[in-house]
């Protein structure tokens, strides 16, 4: 019996999304019994397996196949299915990120398992009922789902739970996944990756976001200064991305990226409901706007009314002073 977790590494580290998923799986295993098995590409440095252990995994299974290293979603789905069968998986956990959205639905079909996509909290398991909460209706509500199949699949919304640190050592072993001939039929011709030193938006805990209130793209320096001082990732509103002031991947909101950082600072963004739909899962929201009637203030924890061009440099200085005092 086990709870198995799909995990991956990037830039020489286990991804935070994966660590969250492992911790989530550990909480489930504590209730339903069995061990937490993290599955990872054999090409990933084995020294990183210890981090999976710290987050709550008891076992790390490495799977070795060119299709897996290439990120082929159907090959991964088949590998996860084989592991699930070999280890008597009760629950299969993914992060609700790009890989999870691609692989998890396939695993659910293969295992004929009920799936809840985008869980925001640990499941409630009582009297044979297995219930999982997720957000619904643009963050205006949450819905509790019961999963009625024997095997269950859950994808966990990033930044929903803290990564555990109390796990112990893991035992690693190779899993021989028979995958030959299994492929999604999709070939990657070209990867266009951005050079970036900051945390990608969906994983970022601190986000500084600006909108039309900044007036012109050349004014973004003060936004970037604040982000740098905080160690935050920058984002923007839809109009700003549509006018090409900022790149599209920075656009947060309903049609852009949905995020739930610990801190979201919105500067010169009025707070249209479509924008809120993508950010209202943020733990703390700070709104800076020169219009005291901006609807965003109603959805904020802290508000500052005034001119962004005066406030941002002051806020950046205050952050730097604070950071210096912490060292």
């Amino acid at each position: 019996m086990s709870v198995i977790v799909y995990t991956e590494a990037a830039k020489g580290k286990i991804r935070k999304n994966s660590l969250e998923a492992v911790t989530y799986a550990a909480a489930i295993a504590a209730k339903v019994g069995g061990e937490v098995v993290a599955v990872i590409d054999a090409a990933v440095d084995g020294a990183l397996h210890a981090d999976l252990g710290k987050a709550g995994a008891q076992k790390v299974l490495t799977v070795n196949h060119a299709a897996l290293s290439a990120g082929d979603a159907r090959a991964w789905a088949a590998a996860m299915e084989l592991v699930a069968q070999a280890h008597g998986a009760k629950v299969v956990v993914f992060s609700h990120d790009l890989a999870g959205k691609d692989i998890a639905p396939r695993v659910a079909v293969r295992l004929k398992a009920g799936i809840v996509a985008g869980a925001v909290d640990f499941p409630t398991i009582e009297g044979g009922k297995f219930e999982v909460r997720k957000t619904a209706f643009s963050g205006k509500a949450t819905a509790v789902y019961s999963i009625n199949s024997e095997v269950k699949v859950i994808t966990l919304l990033p930044n929903s739970i803290p990564v555990g640190a109390n796990g112990t050592a893991v035992s690693g072993s190779a899993f021989d996944a028979k995958l030959d001939g299994i492929t999604s039929g999709v070939t990657i011709k070209e990867r266009k990756t951005r050079q970036s030193t900051t945390v990608p938006l969906p994983e970022a805990e601190l986000v500084v976001s600006a909108g039309r209130g900044l007036k012109a793209p050349e004014n973004w320096g003060i936004v970037e200064d604040l982000a740098t001082a905080l160690g935050a990732t920058t984002a923007c509103s839809r109009p700003v991305a549509d006018m090409h002031w900022r790149p599209h991947h920075e656009h947060v909101g309903q049609t852009g990226v949905a995020i739930r950082p610990n801190l979201y600072i919105a500067i010169g963004i009025s707070g249209a409901i479509q924008h809120l739909a993508g950010v209202n899962g943020s733990k703390t929201i700070v709104v800076i706007n020169n219009d005291k009637e901006a609807p965003f203030f109603k959805a904020a924890d802290y508000g500052v009314v005034g001119d962004a061009f005066e406030i941002l440099p002051k806020l950046t200085e205050a952050v730097k002073k604070f950071k210096a005092s912490q060292n």
């Binding site: 979603a73 159907r74 609700h96 790009l98 959205k101 691609d102 998890a104 639905p105 396939r106 659910a108 079909v109 293969r110 398992a113 009920g114 799936i115 996509a117 985008g118 219930e131 619904a136 209706f137 643009s138 963050g139 205006k140 509500a141 819905a143 509790v144 789902y145 009625n148 199949s149 039929g185 999709v186 990657i188 011709k189 070209e190 990867r191 266009k192 951005r194 990608p200 599209h248 309903q254 049609t255 801190l263 479509q274 209202n280 733990k283 700070v286 709104v287 203030f297 109603k298 959805a299 904020a300 924890d301 802290y302 508000g303 500052v304 005034g306 406030i311 002051k314 205050a318 002073k321």
Partner: protein, 247 residues
């Protein structure tokens, strides 16, 4: 070229929502329903563009929902789809919907099955991958560009930290997002034509759900906003550290 565009009915984002029956059901009372924006703006419009570029083809809408949803299907026809199919059932869960699509599309020779990247009500992003797995077809998740040349499909999709250009053979399932097309507003001729376009109703093709919503809870709004004087940024930083504990 035959394209099947799967459309969902969702409450408009600006709609006020409520639950009834001890919070077990979403109240449809007074709610404005629309075609899920990703399905309409990107999947449907790109399907029409591909057909127009080729000069021939058929764009069929596929919807799982009750008769009350025919208004949104007619809107899709007014935008330009040729015909539509409605499976007469409450959509249940993603697995249920995926099974209807796979069962209907099997053997009908579609070159493309398009879905939106997710619905705006539940944001699950699951149906496309399920259909691909059920039908054993290639699947491109989160595509922002889509082109077809002969039997080869080229798409651009999200990868961690960027995008990738990918190719696969047709037929395939594609989940569509911003970048692929620009929304179209139906014109009067389209609206008139939509009234007489074929809208076929079919019975449930494969009947199982694996999950069920037990209850809903409205999110409580945040505590009243705390206003900070524009000259007191040290105070804001202190509150973020000591009170909110986020820095």
């Amino acid at each position: 070229m035959k394209i099947l565009v799967c459309i969902s009915s969702v409450p408009d984002t600006t709609t006020k929502i409520a639950f009834v029956n001890e919070n077990r059901e979403f109240s449809k009372q007074g709610v404005q329903f629309i075609i899920n924006p990703y399905d309409e703006w990107y999947a449907l419009v790109r399907a029409l563009e591909l057909k127009e570029a080729k000069g021939s083809g058929q764009v069929t809408l596929f919807h799982v929902g009750l008769a009350e949803n025919e208004a949104i299907i007619r809107k899709g026809l007014a935008i330009g789809a040729d015909d539509a199919v409605r499976v007469d059932a409450d959509p249940g869960d993603a697995y249920f919907v995926a099974q209807q699509i796979a069962a209907y599309a099997a053997g009908k020779g579609y070159d493309l099955i398009l879905v939106g990247k997710e619905t705006i009500d539940y944001n699950s992003s699951m149906v496309g991958g399920m259909v691909a797995e059920l039908m054993n077809l290639p699947y491109v998740s989160m595509a922002s560009k889509l082109d077809v040349a002969g039997a080869e499909i080229t798409a651009e999709c999200d990868i961690d930290g960027g995008t990738a250009v990918v190719t696969c053979a047709s037929p395939a399932v594609i989940s569509c997002q911003k970048g692929m097309a620009e929304a179209r507003i139906p014109n009067m001729r389209g609206i008139m034509a939509a009234r007489t376009k074929p809208l076929e109703t079919v019975q449930v093709l494969d009947n199982s759900t694996l999950t069920k919503v037990e209850n809903y809870r409205l999110n409580e709004g945040r505590q009243a906003v705390k206003m900070i004087d524009a000259g007191s940024m040290d105070e804001l930083v202190r509150l973020l550290h000591e009170e909110a504990k986020v820095i």
